[in-house]
């Protein structure tokens, strides 16, 4: 009965675990160091931290190495690690106006306070496979770095300021208004309690900040392409470091370090109610760990979309968006289909067989329509 009840399970899973390790190492290439992953796989580390919901670049790098570069798996490892840690503090609200800006662009205006700062981005490069990377050596790296640092003027850092945001300009002019619907402003912590619907905006944004980038992108895209009514403009996209503070037991606010975040403020024209005939703008907001434009922008699109549910577009349906972009849960559940289901299947089988027997004996439905036995596909 070997293949039916999976016997000898303990041995089998032990061997499977060993084989994974063997496949990672069998070609005997030099081991990848955690510092190499953290620095040279920077964007993967950012993604893992964002979806894992833990800002810890070194741990994220370890997780990536452990998962052989599988981002889902690495984010999952990081999330499981969080459970072992106690939540001792809530940080003070971060203020992105204080951001030390590395990248700041606006699609809405040609010039913005502080100018358009492209920062590190691949947006305007040709995606040609760079075969020279196969020959990269410590020397070529050093050559590049010394040429680069020679051009950096450290005195210029002092002039870097914090700048007004694009939304401040619009707000001053009265073009940006609060969305007309009554918004639940309760502050939830989705890591401490299950999300319930209708969910307050705090819970929605938290869910999206930990959601899977690809999932957010698919639904954000659907909203742009035709299954929704949003077509937002990037009001401002910022990437940089922001200071983080917590209140100590004596009530004093203390600086504890900085984190890298990407922030997107998406401007859309809001639907006006019948009473208010003047159109105005509203903001969709996205924020995530590290540098991840795609995630922040799509989060912004969906934040806006979910605030104007239209009953037709998936992207405006909070339950649909939030449950199904949760990558770690989605991955776990879709993969659980690999587990044995023979008891469950047997239970369905017994029903289906009885129905087929009834049909053969001509005692099917009284309505006279042929009995359909495929109520649902068994797992």
């Amino acid at each position: 009965m070997g293949n039916v009840a999976v016997k000898g399970g303990a041995d089998a899973i032990g061997h499977a675990k060993e084989l994974v390790e063997f496949y990672r190492l069998r070609e005997q290439t030099p081991p990848v160091s955690i510092q190499q992953v953290r620095t040279q796989m920077r964007l993967a580390v950012d993604k893992v931290m964002g979806e894992g919901g833990l800002y810890a670049p070194e741990y994220a790098a370890i997780a990536l190495k452990q998962a052989e570069g599988e981002v889902f798996e690495a984010a999952f490892i990081l999330r499981a690690f969080i459970t072992t840690l106690q939540r001792r503090y809530y940080s003070e609200t971060i203020n992105t106006r204080e951001m030390f800006i590395r990248r700041k662009i606006s699609a809405s205006f040609r010039e913005i306070p502080g100018g358009q700062v492209l920062g590190p981005t691949r947006d305007y490069t040709q995606r040609l496979l760079d075969t020279t990377l196969a020959e990269e050596t410590t020397e070529t790296m050093q050559d590049f770095l010394s040429a680069m640092t020679g051009r950096i003027d450290p005195r210029a850092f002092a002039d870097i300021n914090t700048f007004d945001k694009v939304i401040d300009l619009l707000r001053r002019e009265g073009l940006l208004q609060p969305v007309g619907n009554d918004e639940d402003l309760t502050l939830k912590d989705i890591t401490r309690e299950a999300i319930r619907f209708p969910a307050p905006r705090s819970a929605r944004l938290q869910m999206m900040a930990r959601a899977e980038t690809g999932g957010l992108m698919a639904l954000g895209y659907s909203s742009l392409r035709g299954f929704g009514n949003t077509h937002p403009t990037v009001g401002e996209l910022r990437y940089g470091t922001v200071p983080l503070r917590v209140k100590d037991p004596s009530g004093r606010v203390r600086y504890i370090g900085k984190i890298e975040v990407t922030e997107a403020e998406m401007i859309t024209s809001a639907k006006t109610s019948k009473k208010k005939s003047v159109p105005y703008y509203a903001i969709g907001y996205g924020l995530c760990f590290g540098q991840n434009d795609t995630k922040a922008i799509n989060m912004g699109i969906l934040d806006r979309a979910m605030r104007s549910p239209d009953g037709r577009s998936p992207a405006t349906d909070a339950e649909f968006v939030l449950y199904h972009t949760e990558g770690i849960e989605a991955m776990g559940f879709t993969n659980h289909l690999k587990l044995p289901h023979y008891v469950t299947f047997q239970a369905d089988l017994s029903n289906t067989r009885a129905a087929v027997r009834r049909e053969k004996n001509g005692q099917a439905a009284s309505s006279g329509s042929p009995a359909k036995t495929k109520e649902k596909e068994p797992a």
Binding site: M1, V4, A5, V6, K7, G9, A10, I13, A56, E58, F76, I77, R79, A80, T83, T84, L85, R87, R192, E193, A194, R196, F197, P198, E319, I328, E329, M331, G332, F333, T334, N335, H336, L339, P340, H341, Y342, V343, T344, Q346, A347, D348, L349, S350, N351, T352, A354, A355, R358, Q363, A364, A365, S366, S367, S369, A371, K372, T373, E375, A379
Partner: protein, 298 residues
């Protein structure tokens, strides 16, 4: 690199931090106080994938003590790969003794079966639940199903059972047959076969249910009335094995697995691995009895 030197072992007893365990225990108390009610809880991430038994693990780890004896089965089998993995995890995080023997265990975690052997008031039985919402098939939105439960508005559910009968001549629900608990809440029985459903009713043991991915806990306390949904003229019934018996033991009053052997022939064997072992070794057993099983001729 941050190093944790504060603790001698790498993880807290039973993995989850104490504050979260306390939260889970509080929610379990609420679940026991309102039988069949789905209680939302934090559902912290486990090092086990979502959908692979995290809810059951939360319950187990929140209530396990150092003296507990732990048993875990998957589809009735102690040796199933996922059960082995979860057993290793619970053992590594608690040091608790584990067993295959149903009678010896104090905590039993299960995926989709109730043991054939009778459960006592000294035991707690923990289900892994993939979909805690019995109304999901008739209502896709969570906020509406919560409302329906609140108002005990189960019309859609009854209509779907009726429609199933009209179309197919029977209520076509297989595993996870919905039950009404304490005359109030309709509850998802987790995908256990109908065979196991009558064993919920007026049981000696405490049944706890954990749905990790969906972040819900619920419970059936001992001595609670649990009725499968049925009509006066269309009754609930358990699986019918057409009078087949176990080819290894000749036993008939147990849930049977259908096997296809290498020569293509079909055989039946007792599903519950520990019960099967005991039958084969001629050990004494204390199986559940209920009116449905009693109808089967030995």
């Amino acid at each position: 690199m941050i190093e944790n030197k504060k603790f001698r072992s790498r993880y807290n007893f039973a993995f989850i931090d104490e504050a979260t365990k306390k939260e889970i225990r509080r929610k379990l108390l609420k679940a026991v106080a309102i039988p069949g009610y789905q209680c939302p809880y934090s559902s912290p991430e486990m090092p086990i994938a979502r959908g692979w038994g995290t809810g059951g693990l939360h319950v187990t780890l929140a209530i396990i003590g150092r003296d507990d004896v732990f048993k875990i089965i998957d589809q009735g089998s102690d040796a199933s790969v996922n059960a082995c993995n979860l057993r290793d995890f619970v053992h590594a995080m608690t040091g608790c003794r584990t067993t295959f023997d149903t009678r010896e265990a104090t905590l039993i975690q299960t995926r989709h079966r109730i043991t054939e052997e009778f459960l006592t008031d000294k035991q707690i039985y923990i289900f892994q639940v993939p979909q805690p919402e019995p109304l999901r098939a008739v209502e896709r939105y969570e906020y509406r199903t919560r409302q329906m439960h609140g108002e005990a508005d189960y019309a859609k559910m009854w209509v779907s059972l009726y429609e199933s009968f009209v179309r197919h001549g029977d209520i076509m629900l297989g595993a996870g047959y919905p039950v009404k608990v304490n005359g109030r809440y309709i509850m998802a029985s987790s995908p256990i076969p109908r065979w196991d459903i009558p064993n919920f009713h007026q049981a000696e043991t405490l049944y706890l249910f954990g749905a990790g991915r969906e972040k819900r806990l619920y419970a059936i306390p001992p001595h609670t009335t649990v009725e499968p949904l049925e009509f006066e003229d269309v009754r609930f019934h358990i699986e019918d094995f057409n009078g087949e018996n176990c080819y290894q033991t000749g036993h008939r009053k147990a849930f049977l697995d259908e096997l296809y052997l290498d020569d293509g022939s079909k055989k039946y064997v007792v599903n519950d691995s520990n019960f099967l072992d005991k039958l084969k070794l001629g050990k004494s057993t204390h199986p559940f009895t209920n009116p449905y099983i009693n109808q089967i001729k030995a």
